[in-house]
């Protein structure tokens, strides 16, 4: 069983051995020395003919034995030279040596030729069909929503922000009250928000990732630059454009002297990152409890002619922008002083902006996903198509 300790030490170097292999000093061949020029020439010719005729390396090996082997005419003649009279030795040596040299050269050349041909034939015989499928264990795939989320995270990390997270089952205070939503705000209704039992538990499934903003402000204070991606829930029935569960990414920047111009700059950079090209964004006044001033953000359509600028008309049949030239991306604005106060930040010292976008919506627009349900139902074919890219 033991199979170890096979090479406990390295073998010694082989300095002492000589490489040369001197001609052995054998006794002369019996029968007397005769070197017949004709016979030598004939032997050489016969050898050359045999070499040329050898069809493969195996036959060539036989030819070598027959024509230059120990028993061959040429080898015998070579052996006989030493027994010749002194004055004949030089001529005979030359004769035999040259003849044998020619034969050896031809042998070498033929050997190389045949070996190459044989290898070629052998490799040709091993030819396979490389177009055969190699899908014995197919590669898996990532869900494109998370791949896209990672891209968005990378954008924010790239501009020096951090990624903040929080729980999906959240307190009402963090989801609504801290965000300046008054007690009667319609979004609090049971038609819009999923609450946790029992009645008045003060807990819900978060309807936005904004509570993460509050958590970040409470925990880290200002200045603060965070993006908050995550899953949120609404009491919406599932259809092609709605899902009770979807994903958002919100951004929050709090610092001294931040303005709406900084909000526009951030959105422009994000739009370029997501959809490429020269970004064109537009803000329209809107109303949200947690921002003042508030705005709706539109990105210029990246799909039709509208992408070339506001002076270029949109394609009336454009499926991305619906012919308006603009894509509604979400809400944004300057953080309401009440929100800052609830999160323990002095609005007289700090101000900032916030915005939110739907990640499913971005995937639908960017990659042409036609139906919200595709992203939620977990059909493997949906993910498989993307591999690990989007």
């Amino acid at each position: 069983m033991v199979r170890g300790a096979r090479a406990p030490s390295r073998p010694p170097p082989e300095h002492s051995r000589t490489k040369a292999n001197p001609v052995s000093e054998t006794s002369p061949a019996p029968g007397g020395p005769t070197i017949d020029e004709q016979a030598i020439t004939a032997a050489v010719d016969a050898a050359l003919a045999a070499i040329a005729a050898a069809p493969d390396t195996a036959a060539l090996k036989q030819v070598r034995i027959e024509h230059v082997g120990d028993a061959s005419v040429l080898t015998s003649a070579n052996r006989a030279i030493k027994d010749l009279p002194k004055e004949q030795k030089a001529a005979a040596g030359k004769l035999v040596g040259q003849g044998k040299g020619r034969v050896q050269q031809a042998l070498g050349a033929r050997q190389a030729e045949l070996a190459a041909a044989e290898e070629e034939a052998a490799l040709a015989a091993e030819t396979v069909d490389v177009t055969l499928p190699t899908d014995r264990r197919p590669r898996g795939a990532a869900h494109p929503l998370w791949t896209l989320t990672e891209r968005i995270e990378d954008f924010f990390v790239g501009i020096g922000w951090e990624i903040a997270e929080g729980p999906e089952a959240e307190s009402s205070w963090l989801n609504f009250d801290a965000l300046n939503a008054d007690a009667d705000h319609p979004s609090r209704s049971h038609q819009d928000t999923l609450y946790l039992a029992p009645e008045d538990s003060g807990m819900l499934l978060r309807t936005q990732t904004s509570p993460v903003q509050i958590r970040a402000m409470l925990e880290r204070g200002a200045p603060l630059y965070v993006a908050c991606p995550g899953t949120v829930y609404r009491a919406d029935e599932m259809d092609a454009t709605h899902s009770p569960m979807f994903n958002q990414v919100e951004g929050l920047a709090i610092d001294k002297g931040l303005t709406m111009a900084n909000l526009v700059g951030t959105l422009d950079a994000l739009a370029a990152h997501l959809f490429g090209g020269a970004p064109i964004t537009r803000l329209r006044p809107n109303h949200f409890p947690f921002t003042e001033p508030s705005a709706e953000m539109d990105f210029r359509c990246f799909a039709c002619d509208a992408r070339h600028g506001v002076e270029h008309d949109a394609d009336p049949d454009c499926r991305v922008c619906g012919g308006t030239g603009w894509i509604e991306m979400g809400g944004c604005g300057m953080v309401h002083p009440n929100v800052l106060r609830a999160a323990g930040i002095d609005p007289e010292e700090y101000q900032g902006f916030a915005f939110g976008l739907g990640i499913e919506r971005i995937l639908m627009l960017r990659n042409g996903v036609p139906d919200m349900r595709d992203m939620v139902e977990g059909d493997v074919r949906f993910s498989q198509h993307y591999g690990t890219e989007i």
Binding site: G4, A7, A141, A169, G202, P285, N338, G344, G378
Partner: protein
């Protein structure tokens, strides 16, 4: 949401005649009134006024008589001469010939002619056509054909100017009848945000239009003549002045009950989305749409004063105008009078009136109510009774408290104008109007927030344009008093938004802020990515599933009584009544996804998901809701965190069936329990953690083919972070999965937390290793991990790698026993191992295995 007919808008703001609905919508959208829909013109093309020059009655074989008519449609549209093959009746003059089947007109009448090229409602295109032996070069139109509805006077036939639909109208032949009859009206429907209640009126939208375009604007509230003097004509008691701060009551007597709503008003109501009903009701609605003040008209003959505005009493009932009898809530605000048994409920304040005092087709004396109600009270009542009326929509968003007296007069005047009667000389005006509170604004506040260096003039002009009174305050400040219709303007940021809006959001420059520099992704964020990626690369497909489950899932997964996974969080108002719980384990929603995929034609399953799981908190079930005015106390924040469910990110996978397609390379191996463990280990390895496996019995797994997954924490404790194994056959059947389907689930956050922050380097010795093979015979119940652990102990510091390469059972080994074969690689960092060292290590290993698990070296 409000629908704005352009011609109505143009009454208050100067609208270019060429302005299209699309342009108006774009202008309004710039200021924050988003377009919901655009309704185009009803009639297009050459619809003109014509004068009947000649009229010949031609009886037909079918018994009908048709009119063969020569019509003057103006110089622009007339044919200079008759077609010789089809001459028109009477003297030849510039005109057109038309066939008409109606008989309510005579020569000399002015009528409405749709010439070829006109498109009538219903996409009805008019062309010249031959009929009854003549070419009819157009059509003389009825009100129905133009979409105006039946003749208001009941006349049968076509429109004759001066009568019916065209009462009071006159024109010349060739005049555009589309404009004349108001058929060109385009309508823009806008979305009004909750802070802009004033835009629920033409008055408010016209003001916004003037801000957007600079168009001249006349506030219609300033042009109403107030005739009635304040006085107590009817006593009104306001029991809850916070809920009803003002109540105006104005009487009109002697109204003709048969009076009709004028055509233009009915038309505007229809365009604005309301149904015309009767003159009195229509006028109250019209004034509401125009000014924004909801009004209610009572049949004065049925009222018994005084009127009391009070909260409801428990058990009180009211039958509202929609014919529903409702039980009232003590928080509902009511209008009541002394009728009935002396205390009668007339209506839900600001929401809907009752049947008792409804105006009818015999009503001649009315009382108009125009009041100011508290938005929250109205909103709650409307929601409680599911009664979102036009009135409640406006009160919820706030109605200009200066309007009641103006609106009541305007309505009374319109009723008298179209229905006759007398407006009372005195008007009851109970309650008070709260004056808006001034807001102090720094001259540079807008610049500080928006990033545009607004001039003083821009700041002041914008505020004055929206109706504010602006005075200079101390230093660089302004004292800004908002107008009565803007209760939303309470802090300086509100004013900043107005300045930014009026100057234009489009003017804001784009400046990417320079963040101080973050620390990149956290370890957990990077690790979650790595775990997902590892499983995808290993052949699993990531899927998604929602966390909602039915209680029955706990049984389907065979949780025993007392299993912590029964502690599910319940949703109070679930989307589906049969799925009220949140998953306590990711497999609860991942197994159904596996089933769905197989149902859709997949033949095997290899899926994974990363998702939240929720366990109800043991600490408490109520999270406090502190006041939002300031940072909550630490105690409150702690109580919130303690009440929340215990949540973590789980990573789970299900693998079953063939691990690949049938292949020319050989039969693909089926997924099995070992793959589940391998996948779990790969995911853990991807985040830098190592899993230890221990045999257990745990749902939803096969009792003999499950293991718990453990990690060593930084403190050196071994904690359970998940489980893996082959699914129990009944679970597998429940979800119609392939035989031997396996799964794992990990608490990903716990695995990540167990990974070392820094992976220390190990020496890489260049001395040769010694490879020793062992086969140990042990009891079948001995886990391989225990044998391996013993080998490591026995080998001491020399063990570089221990690898099990064969498991063998059979007769040679003996019943209840198994042989485990290991290849052990030994190496010293100090020198080449001697035969003696190797022998010592071998003996140590054999002894350790024997003493730890009773293993015997197989000969």
């Amino acid at each position: 949401m409000p629908r704005i007919p352009l011609t109505w808008l143009g009454e208050h703001a100067e609208l270019p005649t060429t302005a299209s609905a699309f342009e108006v919508a774009t202008d309004l959208s710039r200021l924050g009134l988003e377009e919901e829909a655009i309704f185009g013109a009803q009639v297009t093309g050459p619809l003109v006024v014509g004068r009947v020059l000649e009229l010949v009655k031609e009886p037909q074989k079918n018994g009908k008589t048709i009119n063969w008519v020569r019509v003057d449609v103006g110089p622009e549209h007339n044919e200079d001469a008759d077609n010789p093959k089809d001459p028109q009746p009477g003297e030849e003059r510039p005109s057109r010939g038309i066939i008409c089947g109606a008989h309510n007109f005579v020569e000399g009448d002015l009528v409405v002619v749709s010439l070829p090229g006109t498109v009538l409602p219903g996409d009805f295109a008019i062309a010249a056509r031959k009929t009854y032996g003549h070419v009819s070069d157009g059509m003389i139109c009825s009100g129905e054909e133009l979409g105006l509805g039946p003749d208001p006077d009941g006349e049968d036939g076509i429109i004759v100017l001066g009568r019916g639909h065209a009462k009071g109208l006159t024109a010349e032949p060739g005049d555009d009848a589309i404009a004349l009859l108001g058929l060109a009206d385009e309508v823009v429907e806008i979305n009004v945000t909750p802070d802009r209640g004033y835009c629920f009126s033409m008055r408010g939208v016209a003001r916004e239009y003037s801000h957007a375009t600079g168009a001249a604007y006349t506030d219609p509230a300033t042009t109403v003549e107030l005739t009635a003097q304040p006085g107590a004509e009817l006593e009104v008691r306001l029991e809850d002045p916070a809920a009803c701060s003002r109540f105006v009551a104005l009487s009109v007597t002697g109204v003709d009950p048969s009076a009709q709503t004028p055509r233009w008003m009915a038309r505007r109501l229809t365009l604005a989305g309301m149904r015309p009903i009767s003159l009195i009701v229509d006028v109250t609605n019209y004034v509401m749409l125009d000014l924004g003040q909801p009004l209610h008209a009572y049949d004065a003959a049925k009222l018994v004063g005084p009127i009391t505005v009070r909260r409801a009493r428990k058990g009180e009932k009211l039958t509202t105008l929609d014919d529903v009898t409702r039980t009232l809530d003590p928080a509902d605000l009511l209008i009541t009078d002394a009728g009935g048994e002396g205390d009668r409920v007339l209506g839900l304040a600001g929401v809907m009136g009752g049947e008792d005092t409804e105006v009818s087709d015999t009503t001649t004396d009315i009382l108009l109510e125009a009041a100011t109600f508290d938005p929250v009270t109205v909103a709650r009542t409307a929601r409680r009774h599911r009664l979102p009326s036009e009135a409640s929509k406006r009160f919820e968003r706030g109605v200009d408290p200066q309007l009641p007296l103006i609106a009541a007069h305007r309505a009374a005047q319109l009723i008298v104008e179209h229905g006759g009667g007398q407006i009372a000389a005195q008007v009851t005006d109970a309650g008070t109007v709260t004056e808006p509170t001034p807001v102090t604004l720094g001259l540079h506040d807008a610049e500080r927030v928006v990033g545009i260096a607004y001039t003083d003039a821009q700041v002041i002009d914008a505020l004055e344009a929206i109706g504010c009174t602006v005075e200079r305050g101390e230093g660089e400040t302004l004292l800004v008093t908002p107008p009565s219709w803007r209760p939303d303007l309470t802090i300086r940021e509100d004013l900043v938004e107005e300045i930014a809006r009026l100057v234009g959001y489009a003017e804001i420059p784009s400046v990417l802020p320079t963040a101080p520099g973050g620390r990149g992704l956290t370890v957990a964020q990077r690790s979650r990515r790595a775990a997902r990626r590892a499983l995808a690369e290993a052949g699993l497909i990531e899927v998604n599933s929602a966390p909602f489950v039915a209680p029955s899932i706990h049984d389907a997964l065979r949780y025993e009584e007392g299993d912590a996974r029964h502690r599910a969080v319940r949703v109070l108002n679930p989307l589906a009544d049969d799925e009220p719980l949140l998953r306590t384990e990711l497999l609860q929603t991942l197994l159904p996804v596996a089933k769905r995929n197989l149902g859709r034609g997949e033949e095997s399953v290899a899926i994974f998901q990363r998702g939240s799981v929720f366990l109800a908190s043991e600490a408490g079930t109520i999270a406090p809701v502190p006041a939002p005015a300031e940072r909550p106390s630490d105690a409150d924040l702690e109580a919130i965190h303690a009440a929340l469910p215990v949540q973590t990110t789980a990573l789970a996978a299900v693998v079953g069936g063939s691990s690949g397609p049938d292949s020319w390379q050989g039969e693909p191996a089926p997924w099995g329990w070992a793959d589940a463990f391998d996948m779990a280990r790969r995911a853990a390895a991807a985040v830098g953690a190592e899993l230890e496996v221990r045999q257990i019995e745990r749902a939803p797994f096969h009792p003999g083919r499950a293991g718990e997954l453990r990690v060593l924490t930084a403190d050196g404790d071994s904690i359970v972070v998940g489980a893996a194994g082959e699914l129990h056959p009944s679970v597998r059947k429940e979800f119609s999965l392939p035989v031997r389907t396996a799964a794992f689930e990990l608490d990903l956050e716990a695995v990540i937390a167990a990974a070392p922050a820094v992976i220390r380097a190990v020496p890489v010795p260049t001395y040769p290793p010694a490879k020793e093979d062992f086969a140990f015979v042990v009891e079948e119940t001995v886990p391989a991990s225990a044998v391996e652990a013993a080998i490591l102990v026995g080998a001491g510091d020399l063990a570089e790698d221990v690898h099990l390469f064969d498991v063998f059972t059979g007769e040679q080994i003996g019943e209840g026993k198994k042989s485990l074969a290991y290849a052990v690689k030994l190496r010293s960092p100090e020198a080449t191992l001697t035969a003696e060292q190797i022998g010592t290590a071998r003996k140590g290993i054999i002894a350790a295995v024997e003493s730890a698990v009773g293993g015997v070296l197989r000969a």
